[in-house]
């Protein structure tokens, strides 16, 4: 095993050496820019020291491929991550942790958008990525050719969220002071030739170069020829559908694969017709459109991106959760003892047998027994979709209802309720092992 790991370390040492050199270059450029453009000598020196640390220590140590010297993620942190994500509560820790992280970033956005802070966080995450690459299990997942774009996606989403938020924070301050927004300052007109067409040209050239480098540096994956009898474990959908596949843990395919995706598409299309707020048009702002901002971020960052990352990096054989530093052990067993709501009600609650239609009874009789068996779930679901919206209309959303009118409000509240169905089901699964709220397997109707 030691021999193998030596071969592995030697295999990646070259890449890691260049990786740390580019991190050094990145910080060197930042230091130079801070010094020349911003005249912030103290900050420039700080990032210069960071660059020298990458260049003078991490890069040569990584190139050495010596397990003694190679910079690695401390075992303490790896064990901590393994314990918190690899155990049976990994999904809970990960999902709740991501949500808490996003909430902290949102509430502390004034602090986190500062150049120094954001740059520091970027450095830390890139460093963590580099240190983790020496872990064989981590490397296997992160460097899988089709997963490389997702690593990129995480950094791109983080970068653009930072960019948008820093502009929004700045704009919100300006609006509060009664000053024009950043965007308003750029409202004079310029000619498209040369200002825009040259930008486009430069973008195209840069992008072509980038794609060529990516294409040369990383080979497209090609596995064994297709075989319909050899099912890989895990079988994963293409990465952009992993959020939907993750929903399969909590819902049956008709919800996770058909109804929910349709609702996402319909809901996205409905946004412009539901958002009646005329403010926040043509500039970044959070304060002027908090509700729509938070709803979108909840759906996009938490329910889409975070779940894709979960599906890509943490889901392993048998769709179990594995920590990124954990070996994908096919024999890892997770107890599945999920219980339907009707079982809770009849067996645990009433201490009775589940109602069952006598053998050979006609369809209406069967339906009657199903309704009797599942009455609690059916009532709850109906209350959720039928009673809750009007209740919201006269309580928390009273102002929205007055502005939107009946139809628009009902559409909006039902779309929101559909979106919330996933986190609700997740929490019910984690806390009381709930399998289905309504379980009618006779008609494939499980919710």
């Amino acid at each position: 095993m030691h021999g193998n790991s030596q071969v592995f370390l030697e295999g990646i040492s070259g890449f890691l050496g260049w990786y740390y050199v580019s991190l050094a270059a990145m910080n060197l450029i930042a230091a130079y820019w801070l010094w020349r453009a911003r005249h912030l000598v103290g900050q420039a020196i700080f990032w210069l020291v960071v660059a020298l640390f990458y260049m003078g220590y991490l890069a040569p140590m990584a190139t050495s491929a010596d397990p003694e010297w190679m910079p690695q993620m401390p075992a303490l942190i790896r064990n901590l991550v393994n314990v918190s994500l690899g155990g049976s509560t990994g999904a809970v820790t990960y999902s709740v942790g991501s949500m808490v992280l996003l909430i902290v970033l949102y509430l502390g956005r004034r602090f986190f958008v500062r150049g120094q802070v954001a740059w520091g966080m970027l450095n830390l995450s890139l460093l963590a990525l580099g240190l983790s690459m020496t872990d064989y299990n981590f490397y296997t997942i992160a460097a899988k050719p089709d997963n490389v774009p997702i690593v990129g996606l995480i950094f791109l989403i983080a970068f653009f969220t930072w960019l948008a938020t820093s502009r929004a924070v700045e704009n919100d301050d300006r609006i509060a002071r009664g000053e024009p927004t950043l965007e308003h300052e750029g409202s004079e007109k310029v000619l498209v030739w040369p200002d825009l067409v040259y930008t486009e040209l430069i973008c195209m050239v840069a992008l072509t170069a980038f794609l060529l480098l990516w294409g040369i540096g990383l080979e497209a994956p090609l596995e064994e020829p297709a075989s319909s009898v050899k099912t890989p474990n895990p079988s994963k959908a293409p990465w952009y559908f992993l959020g939907l596949q993750e929903m399969l843990v909590y819902f049956d395919p008709w919800m996770a694969g058909v109804v929910m995706p349709s609702m996402i598409v319909v809901g996205l299309m409905a946004i412009p017709y539901l958002d009646f707020n005329p403010k926040g048009m043509g500039y970044y702002t959070i304060a002027e459109r908090k509700f729509s901002y938070l709803t979108y971020q909840f759906g996009f960052l938490l329910l889409w991106i975070v779940l894709i990352v979960l599906g890509t990096f943490l889901r392993g054989p048998n769709w179990n959760i594995y920590s990124p530093y954990e070996l994908w052990d096919v024999h890892k067993v997770e107890a599945l003892n999920n219980v339907d709501l009707s079982q809770y009600f009849w067996i645990s609650g009433m201490n009775m047998a589940m109602p069952r239609a006598p053998n050979g009874s006609s369809v209406p009789i069967q339906l009657f027994y199903i309704a009797q068996r599942e009455w609690l779930g059916i009532v709850l679901v109906l209350a959720y979709f039928v009673v809750l919206p009007p209740f919201l209309a006269i309580t928390v959303f009273r102002k929205y209802y007055a502005k939107m009118g009946f139809v628009r409000f009902m559409v909006m509240s039902n779309l929101l309720l559909f979106m919330l169905l996933l986190p609700i089901k997740m929490v019910l699964r984690w806390t009381v092992n709930l399998k289905y709220i309504v379980s009618i397997p006779e008609y494939f109707l499980n919710l």
Partner: protein, 263 residues
Amino acid sequence: MASGEKQSLGDVIRDSQIWKSIFRHPAPVDRRNRVVVMLTNFFLHLHPVSVKKQGIALSYTWCMGGVTFFLFLVETVTGVLLMFYYRPTLEWAYNDILSLRDVTSLGILRELHRWGAHAMVITVWLHMYRVFLTGSYKPPREFNWVIGVILLLLTLLLSFTGYLLPWDQLAIWAITVGSNMARATPILGYEGPGQQLLTLGGIDMITSGSDARFGLLGARFVGEETLNRFYVLHCIAIPLSAAFLMAIHFWRVRKDGGISGPL
């Protein structure tokens, strides 16, 4: 050179009959001709003559819509080239991909196509993210957002149908997992809720040989019919639909008064 004034080679070329017949305008070196070039050039007429300064600031626009369109063009060009080397049959699909890697010159054609496709999915999301965060879907741009959502869907379907074509384990199982969902389509899938509703004289209309999944795959499981079906969708039907919608999408950006902001 009778006049004695020396002409540069560039001037000679630009004054030639051939040049003038191709480009309908003089070189855009002064203000007037910079306007004229935008109005008379087919490729540039997509743009307005002038835009708000913030409308071209990268920190505002992120350029992600443009990047997505560029990636679509990259995918089209590399895709057409790939079609020269690829036959969508069980006998040849995998082998053609193998020889594409090992034998064909310009050996990174498939890499460019695959990485471009992944990048395009990401840039579409980022474009949508920017449009949302700047409130650029608000009136009068509501409908263009709707077209954008359909384009997002088409991008995902393009990527999804393309995923199958290499015909390796990665391909068929990803498509199997993805398309198994269709089996559970309410009413129209044979394991979907309410499929019992569609019966005719006691005979199920919705079976594994006639449901939504069968329509998608052209068979009961991912096989040669699926390969052919996805190939046609990937190379013809979806790109054409996307190109058509893109034309409307860009046209509406112009007609609705630029990429964002009040008119």
